[in-house]
Symmetry: C2
Subunit: 276 residues, 2 copies
Amino acid sequence: MILDGKIVAQSVYEEIKAEISTLSKKPKLWVILVWNNPSSLRYIKQKQKWAEYVGIEFELFAFEENVSEKVLLEKVHLLNTDTNISGYIVQLPLPKHINEKNIIRSIAPEKDVDGFHPENQWKIVIWDTSGLAPCTPAGMMELLKYYNIEVSGKNIVIIGRSNIVGKPIANLLINASATVTICNSKTQNIEFYTKNADIIITAMGKPHFLTVEKIHPKSIILDVWFTVIDEKIYGDSDFENIVKNGNAITPVPGWVWALTVSCLMKNTLKAFKRIN
Amino acid sequence: MILDGKIVAQSVYEEIKAEISTLSKKPKLWVILVWNNPSSLRYIKQKQKWAEYVGIEFELFAFEENVSEKVLLEKVHLLNTDTNISGYIVQLPLPKHINEKNIIRSIAPEKDVDGFHPENQWKIVIWDTSGLAPCTPAGMMELLKYYNIEVSGKNIVIIGRSNIVGKPIANLLINASATVTICNSKTQNIEFYTKNADIIITAMGKPHFLTVEKIHPKSIILDVWFTVIDEKIYGDSDFENIVKNGNAITPVPGWVWALTVSCLMKNTLKAFKRIN
């Protein structure tokens, strides 16, 4: 069975759209973009497309690549103090002469709809739902919810301990009462863990590492990371054989990004409702 | 074998003391105390004792129990902006009419020697060692280091997912390349996890839950939580029989608190060195 993140994202969008249609005022998303990276522009266009689809207005503040950190911080400060602005993002990555951490920690946490500010990141660790959750792990939780995949009491194995995927999703699942094991490249006898898992989340960047032999026939696989080799995209799992084996699995790539953007819109609406 | 946290704490103190003896100026710890809780006073006295032992000066700002949140926040702001003050703590718990979270997130992270501010808590998740680590999990890492207990590649099982113990120590151990499993009250077949663990950390509050039958003869046990029943103190482990079984284990209570205070002094020195 294929777990289709794009269908899940669409259902998140329909939910947001329905709610926004009942509001007297439209939410809005403000975006700070530095023209330094062609992929940033592509990402922003997709975000704009989905914002408009659900009824969220979109405004871009664009800066030249040589913009100073000081100027960006001033803009961030302006957006923080402007009471009309409910939520905004700073599109990453930023040029190398700018310290991304400084920028992120300067964003007012209650307007940080990407959920990148340390306060928002820490809130998902301590299960404080008042914050704006980081969109990528939040999106993964949407997928599990959509497919009614129970996590409480389940044995969930996460392979990979990155700060943007492995650790935040681990903490969200711990809060959802799963028994969570976080493996890494130093893990000995990884099959001991994967063969006993109800759910396996791979976020390593090792093409086709997870084979049928390493999993239980009933395991559900969320394949998060992807690797590009000779312009071909590979997930961490041997997708085709795992599907043939009858396991439920997400196809790589696309599903994580689709869900990430849908959760950005969810956060934008949440931030808007806080002040309206 | 008994893992003695008090010996470890003493060794941390000797290390700090030796370093301070080489400094031309003495570090100092400032403390905000609200007179609402007899145990707060006891804790503060112990902190003062160890501060003086290692050569850290100690200054108390005491407030009556009915102090307003506003007045406390003003004091916090003063300490934040006073460039002579390198590190301070607000002794918890605070009276119920004061929002502890508001106070904690108002402390300047670089002066927050308890490591309670969200920024410091988040830094241990992402393995950013520039912060001031929360003292309790940091103290547990000191114990592992002192006894040369290798964690990289090891199977470590944590029972309990509290925000002050289970989750921070899990994240520290993940960063130290351990394979970490976090169990909770919903975990099914917990012996499957504990019997295969190299190290077990219990932080549940279930007296003598962990018996010899549930563990491997070579498992190392860190018993963190304690429960008081009829004025007797119980850990989560059947300490006596586990010792007889030949496992290494920490005795309850005392070791966690001893190490927590030693790491408070370590943070105080670190914060002092930042500005001196």
